[in-house]
Amino acid sequence: MKIFKYALLAIPFLYFSCSDDDDAPEPINEEEVITTMTVTLVNHQNGSDVVTMQTQDLDGDGPNAPVITVSGPLTAGTSYAGSVQFLNEMEDPAEDITEEVQEEDDEHQVFFSAAGVGMEFVYMDFDGDGNPLGTQFVLAPLGAGSGSLTITLVHEPAKPNDGLDSAGGEIDIQTTFPVTVE
């Protein structure tokens, strides 16, 4: 009858394990998500000429597509002081991820490219090794027309690099804004 003794021995284990509470799990604070990128362009010659571009995807990897907005046209023949801000709006209040990107400047880089219209980009902030970061930049539209501006944030790219194609790393954000230059 030994086995029955052992069977009895096992029973407390079962009760022990079954007696946990039935509470619903706590919600997760999704920390690393970037929901929003806002690009602010301020005309060097005319401080009141401010163009903002934004992509906002509040449900992250949920089915809703990001909402992309561009406040207005850029002016040809001038230059703009640009800044990029990254937010996690899933947290309340929204967390500014830009600070994290700037702190880990050697592990990040923002890449800019234009299609359909000519534009020039100049990096204005750099990491400790003197390689570009790109949260601050200068954008100069070369001529009138319409096309697109693509901004990409890469995590852990090879630095220095010859551009997005050879940088490797992982893309955290990539958004193409429709732009008009007048």
Binding site: A7, L9, F13, L14, P66, E104, D172
Partner: protein
């Protein structure tokens, strides 16, 4: 049924002789025992399982008369005077016993005889076969083969069996694929315990230490109903060695080194047994490897370390026994650094580059991304033989802890995935002899499982919190229908209740119409997310119907039909979001029902001293097969992702495999293995993904018995290109170039051929132990190739040449 005692009375001639002998014995009794009329009936049975023992001698010492049991173990002495007698009961394979008998009237006495066995193993061999099925062909992997692979993983060693392949994520993570199916469709039984280790994950390798295993049996395409009813692909049964029933100490120390990975391992086991049946054993393994290398470059961050130990103690008597078993499996492994992709464009770039974008010098460092897994198993088991059969009881507890570390921003070193899965189960099994030619096995079991995803990761839970309650019943009946036909029929019922808590994105909940389909699941609407409490009940029936036809002792045909029912796993039900390692969005479905596989198989097996041939053909018709297909593209802030959904469609799989070994001359041996598997969706004949390509293995070996059993062999492995695959490619918009580019994740790599060399030699040590040295070289010619069944094939080639040396000492 068991052991020698049966064999001795097997032939008809001896039965006849026995009957005559019994007759004369009884006549003699009549002559001597006059004036008295007591009748003594004796039945001699096997103490182990109650089988009647024929040919046992019973002597009534005082009267010097002898009787011999007939085929049913019976003998009768008549006309005995009232007296006290001393009986001596003997059998040529059993230990003799004496019993006193006070005879005053007619008496029936049942006498249990214990076999005189030096090792319990002989009994175990028989009961092993009974564990599983007698009408299903089982592929076995012996200790010798396991020894050759002692520095490898379970997935690798299972590939030595025809029709079994492995689905890899790099070099170390390798999941067994049986007849084209894997993950939740292949059940692993470790020492009688069903392994519960998040096996749904395609990049989760089984948590079993290969060095703790003594023998592996593989049942393709069917469940072993004692353990599970949901093995649509098959069952893998791993067992430790059986303890000897004598006073002994034995064990083994094995060390191995390998060139690729520049590491090695050490493993030891120690067993102490007593003739009283008590025993204890210990086993431990340590392994450490650095980065693996292809012929051309280092696969950065692919090293691993593994620490395992197991303890077992118990009492093993023939008619009762118990044991306590504990094992810990823990590993820490790097995932190829360059395989971390975030977007489809990352994968396009990786495929274009052909080689990983990060290649560093060789290192033992295990950096992020990495996995850390520990699996604890505690088992208590006891059994006792009764008149009605062998009753055993088992309780087991498993705790599986899985942490996956990903590349994260903000110096976050905490895991991105942290799951703890705890499982308790309790089971009672009865093995009973129905009559001389048939057996009945039946059992009942219950299981409780709890999954806890740690919220402190700061990453959305992939698998939700859930509790699962299982209850099952099974019964298997087998019968020796005639001399050559053996039939088996079994049925199992499984009930499962799942009680989960999950946060869904509100947008997804609504997009999938769950708000209308499952409004009762909603607990709280939190705006962005919605807390739900999905509850499901599954009732599943599975069954087996099989026959074995013995053409001769060495030639058998196995015919089997098996129905397996598998409830959807947590990933299939609850997935809802970006899966980083595959750079796609994966969506499960709450409305899935159980998948039901109907597997028909026929196996011809013939083996003699010179050759062995096994041919197996199967068809597996799976209703409501759950699999993923890409349905769309989904824009997110990180770019466009392919959107994969789990679907439930009917599928069919067919396959054929062949194994032929033949010995030529005395020491020369040639072996061949061939296997082909095809899988399609039934509706439109679209091929299924990740079906193992056709493969052909050939082996020649030569042994030199006079040179310390030196054995050298050369293995050739040719894997054809998989020409039938679903085309899941799609065009990805490249914003920087304003163009579309093809993301080709479907096209399989080319065929490949590799050669392996293996040799072994054994020496006797002075103290009675022995040494064995194995040298094995894989990918002898250092070929550069990619493997269709490696999920990281977009990022890297396979391992280059690997020289492995192992020395083991047995005592």
């Amino acid at each position: 049924m068991n052991c020698k005692c049966n064999k001795c009375g097997a032939s008809f001639k001896s039965k006849l002789a026995l009957a005559l002998y019994s007759f004369f014995s009884i006549c003699c009794i009549n002559l001597f025992a006059q004036n008295c009329n007591n009748k003594l009936s004796i039945q001699v049975v096997d103490l182990h399982d109650g089988t009647p023992l024929s040919n046992a001698n019973i002597e009534i010492n005082e009267l010097e008369i002898l009787g011999t049991t007939d085929f049913d173990g019976n003998v009768t002495f008549e006309n005995l005077c009232s007296d006290t007698f001393l009986l001596t009961i003997s059998h040529e394979d059993c230990e003799s016993i004496t019993q006193t008998l006070d005879l005053k009237k007619d008496v029936f006495r049942k006498i249990r005889l214990e076999h005189h066995l030096t090792e319990l193993e002989e009994i175990m061999v028989v009961s092993d076969n009974r564990n599983n099925s007698r009408t299903l062909f089982e592929n076995k992997i012996s200790k010798e083969v396991l020894d050759d692979y002692n520095s490898r993983t379970l997935g690798e060693v299972l590939k030595t069996v025809t029709g079994v392949s492995s689905l890899n994520s790099g070099n170390y993570l390798s999941k067994p694929v049986i007849n084209g199916l894997h993950s939740s469709r292949v059940i692993l039984i470790n020492n009688g315990v069903r392994l519960e280790d998040q096996e749904w994950g395609i990049e989760h390798a089984p948590s079993i230490d290969i060095n703790s295993i003594y023998k592996i049996s593989i049942i393709k395409g069917a469940s072993s109903l004692k353990y599970a009813g949901d093995a649509v692909g098959g069952v893998i049964i791993a067992e430790t060695s059986k303890e000897k029933l004598l006073d002994s100490i034995y064990g083994n120390v094995t060390t191995n080194l390998q060139s690729n990975g520049r590491g090695g391992g050490i493993s030891t086991d120690y067993t102490k047994t007593y003739s009283s049946g008590w025993y204890y054993k210990f086993q431990g393994t340590l392994k450490r490897m650095g980065d693996f290398e292809t012929p051309n470059y280092v696969m950065t961050n692919t090293g691993f370390s593994e620490h395992n130990l197991s303890l077992k103690a118990g009492l093993n008597r023939i008619d009762h026994g118990f044991d306590v078993y504990y094992s810990l499996f823990s590993n820490y492994l790097g995932i190829l650094r360059s395989s971390h992709a975030h977007t489809a464009i990352d994968i396009i770039n990786a495929i274009e580059n052909e080689v990983p974008h990060i290649i560093e010098d060789f290192s033992y460092d295990i950096n992020i991304p990495r996995q850390k897994i520990s699996h604890n198993l505690l088992k208590l088991r006891g059994f006792k033989n009764f008149d009605f059969g062998k009753l055993s009881m088992r309780y087991d507890f498993q705790s599986n802890d899985r942490k996956e570390y990903d590349i994260r921003r903000g110096n976050r070193t905490k895991p991105a995935l942290d799951l703890n899965l705890q499982t308790h189960s309790i089971a009672f099994d009865l093995e009973s002899k129905f009559d001389n030619s048939s057996n009945l096995k039946a059992g009942i079991s219950a299981r409780y499982q709890k999954n806890f995803p740690d919220p402190s990761t700061g990453v959305k839970r992939i698998i939700p919190d859930y509790k699962k309650y299982d209850f099952s019943l099974y019964s298997v009946y087998d019968t020796n229908f005639s001399e050559s036909w053996f039939l088996e029929a079994g049925i199992r019922y499984d009930f499962s209740h799942i009680d989960a808590y999950k946060y869904y994105r509100t947008s997804l909940w609504e997009a999938r119409n769950y708000d209308e389909l499952f409004p009762e699941f909603v607990v709280e609407d939190l705006g962005l997310n919605i807390l739900t409490n999905p509850k499901f009940d599954f009732h599943n029936i599975s069954s087996n119907l099989g026959a074995r036809y013995s053409i001769s002792e060495s030639e058998n045909i196995f015919i089997n039909y098996s129905m397996s029912s598998r409830k959807p796993n947590p990933s299939e039900l609850f997935s809802e979001g970006l899966h980083h390692s595959s750079a796609r969005i994966e969506i499960g479905d709450l409305s899935f029902n159980s998948e039901v596989g109907h597997n028909f198989s026929i196996t011809y097996d013939s083996s003699n001293e010179k050759s062995s041939l096994t041919v197996n053909a199967f068809a597996n018709i799976v209703d409501d097969f759950i699999y993923m297909i890409p349905v769309d593209l989904m824009p997110t802030i990180a770019g466009v992702f392919p959107y994969w959904e789990y679907k439930q469609e009917d599928a069919k799989l067919f396959g054929f495999d062949l194994k032929y070994d033949r010995q030529y001359f005395t020491n020369f041996f040639i072996g061949h293995q061939f296997s082909i598997i095809k899988g399609y969706e039934r509706a439109d004949d679209k091929p299924l993904i990740n079906m193992p390509p056709v493969n052909l293995k050939n082996q020649i070996s030569y042994s030199f018995p006079e040179l310390n059993n030196l054995n050298v062999s050369l293995e050739s492995e040719y894997v054809f290109r998989q020409n039938e695959y679903p085309n899941n490619n799609f065009e990805v918009f490249i914003p920087t170039e304003q163009t579309y580019q093809l993301l080709d994740t479907s096209t399989p790599p080319s065929a490949y051929h590799i050669l392996n060399f293996a040799s072994s030699i054994g020496f006797k040590a002075e103290n009675g132990g022995n040494y064995k040295i194995n040298l094995r070289v894989e990918n002898l010619f250092n070929n550069l190739y990619k493997n269709y069944l490696n999920r990281l094939r977009y990022f890297t080639h396979e391992m280059g040449r690997n020289i492995m040396l192992s020395v083991s000492y047995n005592y």
